[in-house]
Symmetry: C2
Subunit: 357 residues, 2 copies
């Protein structure tokens, strides 16, 4: 078991990574609560919700089980979960538990952030991908015009990562999660990146996984501690996401997993960086690794102008110019403003390059 | 012109009260903004929105004008204003201006709190009532099951109170606003309470009004500085609101103005306090003043059990017991837990007492 402490502007919370720790929840809570609402989805609830409930024999425990998938991060679901919370009689001394992947974590966190102006919540992520979203306090739902456009910064009281719950993940989900680990490695840790490039992600052991998660989370935690509100270095975590989000939006959410879209975004980032800084960084080795691990990485026949438009509606754009996180080298991220024409040209050359792979 | 500084957990902001200061907005802003969205309603926009726009000749200025009234604090309107903000191209360096009463302030503030996870906003209140809601950072929308159930603590960057905009208020709006001033006086300032009891609120001069607002805001500001997140003394500001909110909900929002409902709630608080602490406080003189100033103050044929239920769904209830703010004396609020039976008995004796007035 490993513990990482994260200090936010309002409080310090622990991220705990280990095996079977979903049965020891009370030891990680900062206080006792009058009642508890577990928010989960149809894929995860049948597997683990009773394990979670078994921690609380004295409290009133309620549960809301949502459909799986990105559509659940909607305004309608948000409102309905509020209705459930009110009907369950939750008050300001209640706790919300987000049990699931990033969708459940983002939605449940935003409900906690806004229920009676904010109550405590903890994250119990059950995907590798959610190691990223569960740390740092970003919570949100989607607007029809873009992902995560409605949300808050609202840190959890604890993140409890039971790696045993990751053993049932599909190959796609493992790919999706490892893309964010690659991102973290690219931002801050050449050695970790080299380690990942040697990893066949379908064959990782529980110990390797715990170690990879821990390395990734530490990188993320360091950054969000330095810049909780994303006015500076936190933007580095957006590496690969400008194109990643645009791809998801353009293809329709669910066509690519988030991590698959980010993987393509990371490749694009390397492509732009290598061109702008006239040096090889890691494009070639990353393409090989993506291939070996069965990532989809071609842009297909996507319209470059449509992608550009979607990239501009991303919420990190300021004043309608595109700010991209690039790499001067592995471990050396920088933010650069690119003109529309530069983006179009890079998308075009990126597309041609991938076709030949 | 008078300035009151309020320190919140995230930043310090100024409340400025004066005549014609709506034309000097830039001098009160902490920085320059890339674009501005003014959110107002159909009553206020025709009177003042062009005055507000005239402050910004270099920035892109957008406006959203909403229907007047409590119905505007809905999830649908919240979503639509987000759509407007996205379509206007607002980004994290944009500013939202809430121009109007408490409804506009609460809604616009909650949009600001959640747009791209939070952008700056300022309050330009145009009612007396909004002196209360515009200070302290409570922002919210209504759920069909209760008022203000969905919201955040998210302080503004400035509150600009131009008393000139209060000259067009109706008699009902003046009554509604003065009820919250009476509340603040009861919580903290016997002298201010005596002053208000001598005031014919339909005849106040601009100077008197500025002075009353300033006294009320200082009381509120002191309390929210001490307890921003409402875990302690901020609860005192709920004086009169447990029954007040229940009355609004039970009668349907809009039947009584918020302040009219609070005025009855304040009387009820005095009734309960005088009984619990076996002393006269100010019931009699407050009834006289409410009469002189044409406040509706009778409960009519309201069902006491229905009111009790509504009081229990108020979000300050913890664990389903009713916590009421009472007065040991003027300036000495205390929080007491009351049983359902006590509340029912007090509602009954209150009702009978008012019938004879």
């Amino acid at each position: 078991m490993e513990e990482i402490a994260v200090t936010s502007s309002s409080h310090t919370y622990k991220i705990v990574i280990g095996e079977n720790i979903r049965f020891q929840l009370k030891s990680f809570l900062p206080k006792t609560y009058s009642s508890i609402l577990i928010i989960s989805d149809e894929s995860v609830a049948p597997l683990y919700i009773n394990d979670i409930r078994s921690n609380f024999t004295e409290e009133q425990v309620f549960q809301t089980v949502l459909p799986s998938g990105e559509q659940t991060k909607s305004m309608d679901t948000f409102y309905n979960v509020h209705t459930d919370a009110i009907n369950a009689g939750l008050d300001r001394n209640s706790l919300i538990i987000a049990l699931g992947g990033g969708v459940v974590g983002d939605l449940a966190g935003f409900v906690a952030a806004t229920f009676m102006r904010g109550i405590d919540y903890i994250q119990i992520p059950t995907t590798i991908l959610a190691h990223d979203s569960s740390v740092g306090g970003k919570v949100a739902i989607n607007h029809k015009l873009g992902k995560n456009l409605i949300g808050s910064f609202y840190p959890p009281r604890a993140v409890i990562y039971d790696v045993e719950t990751l053993q049932t993940l599909s190959a796609r989900e493992i790919r999706s999660g490892y893309a964010e680990l690659v991102k973290e490695a690219l931002i801050a840790d050449q050695e970790f990146f080299n380690l990942l490039l040697k990893t066949d992600i379908q064959q990782v052991t529980a110990e390797e996984l715990q170690s990879h998660l821990s390395l990734g989370i530490k990188i993320k935690a360091n950054i969000v501690q330095e810049d909780e509100m994303e006015s500076g270095v936190r933007m580095y975590l957006n590496l690969g996401h400008t194109l990643g989000h645009a791809l998801e939006a353009e293809l329709g959410y669910g066509t690519l997993t988030h991590g698959e879209a980010v993987a393509i975004g990371l490749l694009f980032t390397l492509h732009v960086s290598e061109n702008m800084f006239s040096k090889q960084i890691a494009s070639h080795s990353l393409i090989q690794w993506l291939k070996e691990n069965n990532y989809p990485f071609k842009l297909q026949q996507l319209d470059e102008h449509a992608l550009l438009l979607k990239m501009k509606s991303d919420k990190k754009t300021v004043n309608s110019k595109i700010k991209m996180v690039l790499l001067e080298d592995i471990g050396s991220p920088v933010v650069k403003e690119l003109t529309d024409q530069q983006i179009l040209d890079f998308l075009h050359s990126f597309n041609r390059k991938l076709v030949t792979e």
